[in-house]
């Protein structure tokens, strides 16, 4: 296929290493697995191992991945 690019889907799910959830066929069938969270505003919450959720002081933003520092602060 040649020609200029066009946006045909958003919020596409990524695999374990960035592979995206898209399958396209030559007969015009496009399957898109959408995460629904791409660029979405995120709250940061703590959750206990019993599933009890509590808010944190971190402001709402379009946060992506997160990593806790070794000292847990």
């Amino acid at each position: 296929m040649t020609g200029p690019s066009e946006r045909v889907a958003e919020g596409v799910v990524q695999g374990p290493q960035g592979a995206v959830g898209v399958a396209a066929s030559r007969n015009g069938v496009l399957a898109v697995l959408a995460s629904g969270s791409a660029n979405a505003d995120m709250d940061i919450v703590t959750v206990t191992d019993e599933g009890v959720e509590r808010p944190t002081a971190i402001p709402r933003r379009s946060w992506g991945d997160l990593r806790i520092s070794p000292d847990g602060r």
């Binding site: 374990p16 191992d49 946060w63």
Partner: protein, 259 residues
């Protein structure tokens, strides 16, 4: 001040920010528009991250510029090991490892033809590697001695992803596949052989990402806001039966899809 690092979606890649959990204050750490995979070093004194110029190390609290530690520009994941041990990198659909004194010379560790492997996580003591593999057609979590030898053990039973170690290295957390997913804790034993000896379902996983708190019993979760319209569209499969025509039409100002 230490903190939690977050990546924030930019126009092309991500930026790394550091947030203080107690106060909620945030500070931007990287300015490279292609920033991606990021991870604290085990001493908490720096953050390693993928940039457009390779893998770099930025001291925290921030002092001066970042320093290069590896040339690779295609990292999907990065997991820092303890001092003297291995780091793991997810590159394309393979997992590479490198000792911390030779990070610029990674070698393939898990690279099966036709199989996607990723999400590598080095254990707290640096002796085991958790990762996901699509072998058999379904993503599952595995654990394997690093750098080997030693057989791998399957951790998830019928699908799993996003493994993270408990701080004491005795358990692996992961989420099941599908929607709704379940957040799981698997107990890992190394003797008499490496295996998951127990699997506990903890709670429904409705989050976009997580990490394990130092006590091993709490988790920091990314939660899509209910006010965001994209939050309600989580994990949908859209089938468009005539995408070539839609593409042609969109160039004329029309577009559409069938769900």
């Amino acid at each position: 001040m230490a903190g939690t690092i977050f990546t924030v979606q930019g126009k092309i890649g991500f930026d790394v920010w550091v947030a203080d959990l107690a106060s909620g204050t945030t500070e931007r750490l990287t300015t490279d528009p292609m920033t991606d995979a990021s991870e604290w070093t085990r001493d908490g004194r720096a953050v390693a991250y993928q940039s457009s110029a390779g893998v770099r190390l930025q001291a925290w609290p921030r002092s001066g510029g970042s320093t290069p530690i590896a040339d690779t520009k295609e990292l999907g994941f990065l997991s820092a090991g303890p001092a003297g041990a291995y780091w793991a990198f997810g590159v394309n659909a393979d997992i590479l490892i490198a000792r911390d004194d030779s990070l610029n010379a990674p070698r393939p560790f898990i690279a099966s033809a036709g199989v996607d492997e990723g999400s590598p996580r080095v254990s707290p003591d640096g002796r085991l590697l958790a990762y996901v593999s699509s072998e058999g057609g379904q993503l599952n979590v595995y654990v394997q001695p690093i750098p080997g030898p030693g057989a791998r053990a399957r951790v998830s039973v019928s699908g799993g992803r996003d493994p993270m170690w408990s701080p004491d290295g005795t358990a692996l957390f992961y989420r099941t596949l599908g929607s709704p997913a379940t957040f799981m804790r698997a107990t890992i034993a190394e003797r008499p052989r490496l295996e998951a000896t127990r699997r506990d379902s903890l709670f429904p996983y409705r989050y976009a990402g997580y990490d394990v708190m130092p006590n091993g019993r709490e988790f920091l979760m990314l939660k899509a806001t209910s006010s965001d319209p994209r939050a309600g569209a989580a994990s949908g499969l859209t089938i468009t039966t005539s995408w070539l025509q839609l593409l042609a039409r969109s160039r004329g100002g029309q577009a559409g899809a069938v769900r």
